[in-house]
């Protein structure tokens, strides 16, 4: 019988399966956390640890910050704290949050430090008491609007207007996105996917000058939602749309590479989203964890961040050119209104 004969398949199957399962684990590839990339260690201001016992051991960092910035910061940190070795898990915010949720369901979060992209998801953890309350030595470097008791802003992401070469009239403020002259030619990022886009939604919705009606007006004017921040830039650069809402660093990088786009810094203010760092309460190496979180706020850490194109949180560290005023939503208020704001938004733009 074919059935009987086929029964013999399993012998081979089992044997090879065992081989297949036995081999992994040690097949190590170069670690992503190897602090080898020459980052921004310029100036070499080797201000070592301020405490008497230098932090040491290993540290696990979970982050959604872009790879080049993480590399630069790790390189600078390794100079100041050579005894700490850091393992990095870097993923987009959604995947990072899913990993943390899964780990919390099975034996606890595997990270000592969280370095996020926007305050919302970090605030969710803070409100579940996952973070250690402590005060970094550099706390004064962070403006009060950009920190809480458990997490501190490390850099600012500015939501600005990007437009293509030759587009007229040239936009100057957010109201130009609803100008009939640009009907059907505006792209905005989907707040359901990116924290910074949600920050913009929160800002507009809770501002007296705009309100959620601003999104209704955008829709009325034929604005299109695309998934993510880089897609806004790409579609504007390629001419599918004329102008859109995107992040300053994304636009600056494209301009530097030669893309035919320009930044219009909104006269009423770019929407500033801060990228916070926090130490998990469950860390078993608090000394090293705090030293890393604090390092992000020091001049060296901030210089590394600024050198990869982000606006540092400290105003005594030179960063990219900021073209005008900055505004920010009340993060606490919009944190409580996340579901409601998204529902309002979706009732306008669909999905």
């Amino acid at each position: 019988m074919a059935r009987t004969i086929l029964g013999a398949l399993r012998a081979v199957a089992i044997a090879l399966l065992l081989v297949a399962c036995a081999s992994p684990g040690s097949t190590a590839s170069p670690s992503p956390s190897v602090v080898s990339s020459p980052g921004a260690s310029d100036g070499a201001p080797s201000v070592g640890p301020t405490t008497s016992t230098a932090p040491s051991g290993t540290l696990t960092l979970y982050t959604s910050v872009t790879q080049d910035t993480v590399d630069a910061v790790l390189a600078a940190y390794a100079v100041a704290y050579p005894d700490v070795s850091i393992d990095v898990f870097r993923a987009p915010t959604g995947e990072l949050d899913a990993r943390i949720a899964a780990e919390r369901a099975s034996g606890g979060v595997g990270a000592d430090v969280l370095w996020g992209t926007d305050p919302l998801s970090v605030q969710a953890y803070a409100s579940q008491d996952l973070f250690k309350a402590w005060t970094p030595a550099e706390v004064d470097a962070v403006p009060p609007a950009y920190h809480t008791d458990t997490f501190w802003g490390t850099r600012l992401l500015n939501m600005i207007i990007v437009y293509r070469d030759g587009v007229t009239p040239e936009p100057t403020d957010w109201t130009d996105l609803v100008d009939p002259a640009h009907a059907g030619r505006v792209a905005i990022p989907d707040p359901g996917f990116a924290g910074s886009a949600f920050g913009a939604l929160g800002y507009f919705a809770s501002s007296d000058a705009y309100g959620i009606d601003y999104y209704a007006a955008l829709k009325q004017n034929g604005a299109t939602q695309v998934q993510a921040i880089p897609e806004v830039l790409t579609s504007v650069a390629e001419g599918q749309y004329d102008l859109g809402m995107t992040l300053d660093k994304t636009a600056r990088d494209a301009i530097a590479a030669g893309s035919p786009v320009h930044i219009a810094w909104p006269t009423s203010g770019a929407i500033a989203v801060y990228s916070p760092v926090a130490v998990f309460d469950s860390t078993d190496n608090p000394g090293a964890a705090e030293s890393f979180a604090n390092f992000l706020l020091t001049v060296e850490g901030q210089t590394a961040i600024a050198d990869t194109g982000w606006q540092p949180i400290r105003d005594d560290v030179a960063g990219p050119e900021i073209g005008g005023p900055q505004v920010a939503p009340d993060w606490n208020a919009i944190f409580d209104r996340q579901e409601e704001l998204l529902r309002d938004y979706r009732s306008i733009f669909g999905g």
Binding site: A2, G7, L9, L17, G25, T27, T66, S106
Partner: protein
């Protein structure tokens, strides 16, 4: 037969352990965790606009399944049952999309057919409705046709029915009648397997619906799940991710089960033997022309658009010589990417071997067809979105296996077991039973019969299944993005890290490199000629 039954018992135990460890335990842990976090948000999630997402996902998956199985079958009949000039090139062209990562497929189409794409720039013609339901369906069909083609072509090779077909023709049947009354009915298990795989894959599609659907406000279950995942820092959102995923799995599996039952062939398989395949009649000009037109429009043009994107100095510049550069390839191939590529190749190979072996084991001891209980069980984790598979595996094995390559392998097997099993199971149901019987009558033992009769006949399906699993595994992004560790970094992680830097030119370059590498590896395999004809025929030409 004491020896045989002992083997059978061992096989059952091994299968049960594998099912428990890879499928059942992670699923159980996932559901119990979500239950603990409170499923209260589910009703709200489904109640409001969730129902629209369910409806959209379902109708799209059904349309894509019907269209791509029909298209894949037509192409398979053309290349396997008629003499087509340059058939090797045609096969390679049809299968090429399998090598392109899913998340760049939609991007390559927008660059080929979008408002500012190649055709719009050169001829002023663009694909109407590309951003919206029509575009999503078209791009998903183009991506699913090679999957259906691979399964059906392998099935056709496992047993041809030239005798029956010739008999039908000799009795006066037209080619169409012989196809409809002889070839297709005998092919039903294979068509069922292809349909099940395409349906579930489409329900799971994320890259295409999100890129082409968001501008039009189209929501599918996967984009909905991903949005909740982006807010999974709250327990409610996380519970909703699990609940919506459970609903997705339920819908997918019930649909496949119902359709499978409707398709199920009753009665004994015919006893016709696998005769030598007769010299094929030349293919019709129209058929060959249509096949090539399909390859040019759905494969070559989007691929060309991707290459042009990868070579353009900065996004938005016209891809003309002064603006072209190879710098993005260098940026895409830094030391880290190259190292992770090695890990990915090993992982994909292990997954392909493991999934085909597990599939073979399940087929051998449990059920002939994919539609048996075991077949449905492995479909559960196949239907689950990759991110949720990763979460389930992490909950089940995170404490012991976190940050190892082993946890990635377990997750990949959970996700792709069905992909390794279905083509093999479908092919087994087409095996001529009398050949194996003849071998046994002549004194061959189980192993000899397996080695000399069964495996050679199944080779095309086994190679096809392995290729499928390998290509999907190497292009898999979400699972490894969630599960990788410092000592197990895969290519997907490099891709996502690059992509998040925001420069589409570098991502495109990496996708082109990946396609070239996997394509060359497949070609190399062919040149070795160690595999029976299967790899050569159904592989890459």
């Amino acid at each position: 037969m004491a020896e045989g039954s002992r083997w059978r018992a061992t096989g059952w135990v091994a299968l049960a352990l594998a099912l428990l460890g890879i499928v059942a335990w992670p699923l159980f842990r996932l559901l119990s965790t979500a239950w603990g976090a409170g499923l209260g948000g589910l009703a709200a999630a489904i109640g409001t606009d969730g129902a629209a997402a369910v409806a959209t996902s379902l109708w799209m998956a059904i349309v894509v399944t019907v269209a791509s199985v029909a298209g894949g079958t037509a192409l398979a009949l053309l290349t396997e049952r008629s003499a087509v000039p340059g058939v090797a090139w045609l096969r390679a062209g049809i299968l090429a999309p399998l090598l392109i990562p899913d998340f760049v497929t939609a991007i390559s189409w927008t660059r080929a057919y979008g408002p500012v794409g190649i055709t719009a720039r050169l001829t002023g013609v663009e694909l109407p409705g590309l951003y919206g339901p029509v575009g999503i369906v078209v791009v998903l069909v183009a991506g699913a046709v090679p999957l259906a083609y691979l399964v059906v072509a392998a099935g056709l090779r496992v047993r041809s029915e030239p005798d029956l077909e010739r008999a039908a023709r000799a009795s006066g049947a037209t080619p169409w009648e012989s196809l409809r009354q002889v070839t297709l009915p005998l092919l039903l298990p294979v068509l069922g397997a292809a349909a099940a795989l395409v349906f579930v894959t489409t329900m799971n599609a994320f890259g295409t619906p999100v890129v082409l659907g968001r501008p039009a406000g189209v929501v599918t279950m996967t984009t909905r799940i991903y949005q909740d995942l982006a807010f999974s820092s709250t327990p409610e959102a996380f519970a909703r991710v699990v609940a919506l995923s459970a609903l997705l799995v339920l819908l997918a599996v019930v649909t496949v089960a119902v359709a499978g039952r409707a398709l199920a062939i009753r009665g004994e398989r015919t006893g016709a033997s696998a005769g030598p395949v007769a010299a094929h009649a030349p293919a019709s000009r129209a058929g060959t022309g249509a096949a090539w037109a399909f390859v040019v429009l759905t494969v070559l043009l989007p691929l060309l658009a991707l290459v042009l994107t990868a070579m353009t100095r900065a996004v938005g510049l016209t891809p003309l010589p002064p603006n072209l550069t190879l710098a993005h390839f260098a940026a895409a191939l830094d030391a880290r990417t190259v190292a992770s590529l090695g890990t990915s190749l090993v992982l994909a190979a292990l997954t392909a071997i493991g999934a085909v072996l597990l599939g073979g084991l399940a087929t051998a001891v449990a059920s002939r067809r994919g539609s048996g209980p075991v077949g449905m069980m492995v479909l559960l984790t196949f239907a689950l979105p990759g991110s949720v598979v990763a979460v389930a595996i992490l909950i089940a094995y995170g404490v012991t296996l976190r940050d190892t390559l082993a946890i990635l392998l377990v997750a990949y097997l959970a996700k792709l077991w069905a992909l390794g099993q279905r083509p093999v199971a479908a092919a087994v149901s087409r095996l001529p039973a009398d050949l194996a019987r003849a071998a046994r009558v002549h004194g061959a033992g189980s192993f000899t019969t397996l080695r000399t009769v069964v495996l050679p006949l199944l080779a095309p399906a086994i190679v096809a299944a392995g290729l499928l699993v390998f290509t999907v595994a190497i292009n898999e992004v979400t699972i490894s993005t969630l599960l990788y560790g410092p000592h197990a970094t895969t290519l997907a992680v490099s891709i996502v890290n690059l992509q998040q830097l925001g420069d589409p030119t570098v991502t495109a370059a990496l996708a082109v490199v990946l396609t070239a590498i996997v394509g060359l590896a497949a070609l190399g395999l062919l040149l070795l000629r160690r595999v029976p004809w299967g790899a050569a025929g159904v592989g890459l030409g």
